[in-house]
C-alpha cells in the first residue's frame, strides 16, 4: 500500500472549463470543502493572471485548514529578466502559500512557437526559476508542460528539462499530458525511461481527457511509480477536462489499496462533487462514475430483480463507500420487479402476480407510451402507486383554471394572470394571481387557494422546471410542430427533501398543471406519512 498525494487543481485548471467561472468567494468555499474531503494540496490559482485569484490569495491566509495545503501556480520567469525582477515570480511569493507549482515548457515546438526563445535559454528559465524559489517555500513542484508530447518529438530535450528541475531540488517532477492525446502504454513506456534517467526523483502525473483516457493514464502513472496525482473534481477543465479525481481516488483506494484521503473520508466524495457543481453552477453529469446520480441506478428488468437479490451482481462497488446510493428506475423495460421493490419501501409485500401489480404495470406502460417518464419523476410514480393502493387521499378537486397572457405593446412583456377554482372538503375557493409567465401565475393562484387549508405548502418551493417537446412521430395522430406532445418535469423541495413530478399534454399549460398538481399532492402525502410514523412511534413509547 502506497500513500498517493492528491493535488487538486479545480480552482485553477478546472476554471478553464467553458462553463466554469468562479468568484473569489466561490473559490474560498470550495477550498474549505476540498480540505474537508482531505486532499493533500489545493491549487488556488495563478496570482499573476487575474484579480480574482489575487483576491483569493489575500483572503485564504485567514482560513485554517485541517488537511490540505494551498498552493499557488505560475510560469517560469520571463526570458527578458531574472527571477528577482519578474513580477510573475514575485506575485507567487506575495501569495505566501508555502507551496508553489511552476510550469515550464518541455516540448521544443512550444519553446520555439509559443515562448519564442532558444532551447538552451528555456533550460535556464526552468533552473533559475526553481532554484530561486526552492528555499522560499516548504514544497516546490515542477509541472513539465506537454512532457509526453515533448518526449515523443525530442526525447533528449524533454529529459534535459526534467534534469534542470531536478537539480534545482523540486519535491516532484509532474509529467503533464497537456493535450490529452497520450495512450496508457505510452505513459508506461515513457515513465520507465524517466525513472531510469532520474532514479532519485519523485514523479507526478497531470492528465487531460481529450482521448477519454485521463483516468486510465493517471492510474497507469501510479502503477509506473508516480506518487503525486493532479486532477479536478468532476473532471472540470479546458476542452474535455482534466483527469477526474472523483474516479481516480476511489479506483486507487478501493481497487488498488492505495491511500489518498484520511481514514474514512471516501464517503464524503459524492457530496463534495455535488457541492462543487452547485457552487460552479454547472449541471451535474448524471452518468458520472462513482458520484453521479445514475452511477448506481438500475433500469433493466432482469438487472433489477438480480440486484434486489444480491447488489454485487450489477454493482462494482458498494455505493455507500463513496457516499452514493442505489436507485431503482421505472420504465417499460423494467417490469414488475421494480414495482415490488417500490411497494416494499411503503411496507407492502406483494407477489409479482398480484392483480394490483399487473394493473399498475399496464397503467404505467400505457402512460409511458404517451410520454410520461416515471424513471425521472419518482414522486409522480409514488403517488400513482399509493393511489392504486387506495392509500393517497384526494387533497383537493380542481373545478377549473384560466391562464391569460396579454401583450399590449410590441416591445413589452406580456402580463400573465391565472384564476383557479378548487374545492377542499365542501369549501370552494376561487382565487386569482399574476406571475412571471403563465406557469408561475398558475402556481401562485394554486398556492393562494390551498395554503389556507394546507399551511405546510408555504414550506414548499419550485426548484427546477424542465420542458421537452416529444418527437412528433410519438403522437399517433400525426400532429406536427407546435402541436406535438410536451413533457414537463418539475422539481420541488422543502427543508427535508426534493421531489420530481411529471405532466404530459400537447398543451404546455396542461402539462405544467399536471406536474404542479402532483408536486403539491406529493408534499401533502409526505406530511401525512410523517404524521402516521410519528403517531406510531408515540404509541410504541406509550406501551
Amino acid at each position: 500500500m502506497n500513500r498517493i498525494e492528491i493535488y487538486d487543481t479545480t480552482l485553477r485548471d478546472g476554471t478553464q472549463s467553458e462553463d466554469v467561472n468562479l468568484s473569489a468567494e466561490d473559490k474560498l468555499r470550495i477550498t474549505q470543502r476540498l480540505d474537508d474531503l482531505g486532499v493533500t494540496y489545493i491549487e488556488g490559482g495563478w496570482p499573476a493572471s487575474n484579480p480574482t485569484d489575487r483576491r483569493y490569495f489575500e483572503e485564504i491566509g485567514n482560513y485554517t485548514l485541517k488537511h490540505a495545503r494551498v498552493s499557488a501556480f505560475g510560469s517560469t520567469h520571463n526570458a527578458r529578466t531574472t527571477p528577482e525582477n519578474d513580477p510573475n515570480i514575485q506575485s507567487l511569493l506575495d501569495a505566501r502559500t508555502n507551496v508553489l507549482t511552476i510550469f515550464g515548457k518541455t516540448w521544443d515546438i512550444h519553446v520555439r512557437d509559443a515562448l519564442r526563445v532558444p532551447l538552451e535559454r528555456n533550460l535556464e528559465l526552468i533552473h533559475n526559476s526553481l532554484a530561486y524559489l526552492r528555499d522560499e517555500v516548504a514544497k516546490l513542484f515542477f509541472d513539465a508542460e506537454h512532457f509526453f508530447d515533448g518526449y515523443k518529438a525530442n526525447p533528449e530535450y524533454a529529459l534535459a528539462c526534467l534534469h534542470q528541475a531536478h537539480e534545482a531540488g523540486v519535491d516532484a517532477l509532474v509529467l503533464c499530458d497537456t493535450n490529452g492525446g497520450s495512450l496508457p502504454q505510452e505513459i508506461a513506456e515513457i515513465m520507465a525511461v524517466v525513472q531510469k534517467e532520474l532514479p532519485q526523483a519523485s514523479l507526478g502525473i497531470h492528465a487531460h481527457n481529450d482521448s477519454e483516457l485521463a483516468v486510465a493514464n493517471s492510474l497507469q502513472a501510479v502503477q509506473s511509480g508516480a506518487t503525486h496525482v493532479q486532477g479536478t473534481i468532476n473532471g472540470y477543465g479546458e476542452r474535455c477536462g482534466n483527469a477526474n479525481l472523483c474516479s481516480i481516488i476511489p479506483n486507487l483506494e478501493l481497487k488498488q489499496g492505495h491511500k489518498c484521503l484520511p481514514e474514512n473520508h471516501l464517503p464524503k466524495l459524492t457530496q463534495t462533487a455535488l457541492y462543487i457543481s452547485e457552487v460552479a453552477n454547472v449541471q451535474a453529469f448524471h452518468r458520472q462514475p462513482f458520484v453521479g446520480r445514475s452511477a448506481f441506478a438500475h433500469k433493466g428488468g432482469i438487472h433489477v430483480s438480480a440486484v434486489r437479490r444480491n447488489p454485487r451482481t450489477y454493482e462494482h462497488i458498494e455505493p455507500e463507500t463513496v457516499g452514493n446510493k442505489q436507485r431503482i428506475l421505472l420504465s417499460d423495460l423494467a417490469g414488475q420487479s421494480n414495482i415490488l421493490f417500490k411497494a416494499k419501501q411503503y411496507g407492502y409485500h406483494l407477489d409479482k402476480n398480484d392483480p394490483f401489480v399487473l394493473e399498475l404495470l399496464s397503467q404505467i406502460k400505457e402512460r409511458e407510451s404517451n410520454g410520461y417518464e416515471y424513471s425521472a419523476a419518482e414522486a409522480s410514480f409514488e403517488l400513482l402507486l399509493n393511489r392504486t393502493l387506495g392509500r393517497a387521499r384526494k387533497y383537493f378537486t380542481l373545478l377549473g383554471f384560466r391562464v391569460t397572457d396579454e401583450k399590449r405593446q410590441e416591445n413589452k412583456d406580456p402580463y400573465s394572470e391565472a384564476t383557479v377554482m378548487v374545492q377542499v372538503g365542501g369549501v370552494t375557493e376561487h382565487t386569482a394571481a399574476a406571475g412571471e409567465g403563465p406557469v408561475n401565475a398558475l402556481d401562485n393562484a394554486m398556492r393562494k387557494a390551498l395554503e389556507k387549508f394546507y399551511p405546510t405548502l408555504t414550506e414548499m418551493h419550485l426548484l427546477d422546471f424542465k420542458v421537452r417537446v416529444l418527437p412528433p412521430q410519438r403522437t399517433s395522430d400525426g400532429k406536427e410542430g407546435t402541436a406535438s406532445n410536451v413533457r414537463v418535469l418539475i422539481e420541488s423541495g422543502d427543508s427535508q427533501s426534493r421531489w420530481i413530478t411529471v405532466g404530459v399534454s400537447y398543451n404546455i399549460i396542461e402539462a405544467s398543471w399536471q406536474a404542479l398538481e402532483d408536486a403539491i399532492n406529493y408534499k401533502l402525502f409526505k406530511n401525512d406519512q410523517l404524521k402516521i410514523e410519528q403517531a406510531m412511534a408515540q404509541a410504541r413509547t406509550e406501551t
Copy 2:
C-alpha cells in the same frame, strides 16, 4: 493495421440509460444514421423484451443498408425448456436478422443467485442455445456476461462457459465487463489466459464505464487481440454507460492505425453523435472527447494565442478528422468572421473594423448573454443582420395579443384561444383563433391576420418546436423554478427550404411569440430576396 468490427448497441444497451427512451421510429432513424457512419453491426434490440423492439424488427426488414448488418439480442434458452420450445429463442428467429447475439451467464454467483440453476445446467443452456441457432444465421456472437468478474471469482467455470460457446461454433466470444469494475491490467492478464486456452477463438470486448475506464479497457482488449468491439454512441447505457464508440473509433483509427469505418467516414462522427443525441432528446455533453462542443474550445488566453500560431500546440488531433471544429472562446474573432461571411452572402463586403460589424457584434453578444442562441437559429441571425443593414423591411406591427387557456373540468384538456391585433400598412387586423395549446392558437391567429396581406404564408408550415429552460444566470435576481428563462427554437419550412428562429423570455408564450414572429418575417424576407434576384435576372436578359 487491423480491421476491427464495430458492434453498436446504442439501440439496445444504450436505451438502458436513465434518460434514453426510444420509439420504434426513433430506432429506425438512428439505424439509418449508424449505417451511414459505417459501423459493422447494429444491435437493434431484444425482440422478446418489449413491443417497441418487436415493432422495430417488423419494420427494419423493409430498409436496405449500405454498410451495417442489424442483429437481434437475446438470452440463452430457459432452463425449463429446450431451444425449440423457448419463445425467447423463437422470437430471435422471427426477427429474421441473419445476425444474432446470445448472452449467457459466466459468473457462478449469477448462475446461482440470478438464474438459479446448477452450474452444469448453465453450461448446457449456453451450448444448446448456440448450437441450435448456429446454422440459422450467418453471424452468431456470444456475449459472455460478467466474464471478467466471473473469471476473478471462479476461473475454471468462466473458461468452461467460453469453451461451450466456442464448441457450438460462434463467430466471436465477446468478453463482457458488465459491472464496469475491471482495470486495464486485469483485462490484459485475463485475456492472455483466454488466448492460451482458446487460441482458435476470435475475441470481442463489451465494457462499461463505472470506473471511467471503458475506453481504456476496450483499447487494451484490442491490444490483447480482440477484433470485435461493442459500445454505444455518446457512451449511453445503464448506470455510467457503455464504452463510448465516439472515443474508441478515433483512438483506434487515428492513434493505433486500425480500420473501423469505411474509408473517409471518420469525419461523419461528430454529426452522427449530435443527431443521435437529438433523436434521443438528451442534451449533448459539451466536454465529450472528440465530438463534444468544447472538445476543441480554447479559453485560456495563452492557449488561444498559441493555438492561433500553431493548433497542434494545444490540440491532440485535427478537429476536422472527426468532423468537429476549433472554437475560440472569449474572443470576438469567431463572431466577427461569421458576420463578415454572412454579410458577404448578401453582397456586402465589410471590413472587420467596420463600425457596423462592431455594433452588430455587441448586439449579438448582449442577446447571447440573455440566452439567444444564434448558432442554432441562423434565420434569426440573418434577420438581425439585414435589419442592422437597414435591408429587411418591417412587414407588420404587433398591436397586441392575448392567449387564454381555460380548463373547466378536472380530467378535460383546457381550451386554448388566442386573439391577435396587427397593423399592416395603415390597416389594422384583429383576429381570434383556437388551437392545440397556446402556441398553436397564437400561430393560427397570426396567420389568419396576415395571410390576407401576404398569401405566400400559406406555403409555410411549423416543422419543429424545441423548448429549453436555461440555467438561472449567475447575474439573475434570484428568480427560481418556473420563473427562469426559457429558450424556444422553431423550425419552419416551405417547399424550397427550412429555417430556424429563436425567442427567449422568462415567459414561454413571449419566447414562442418572438420565434414565430421571426419565422414569419424570414419567410416574407426570403420571398422579397427571390423577387429581387428574379428582377435582376430579368434586367440582365433584357439588356
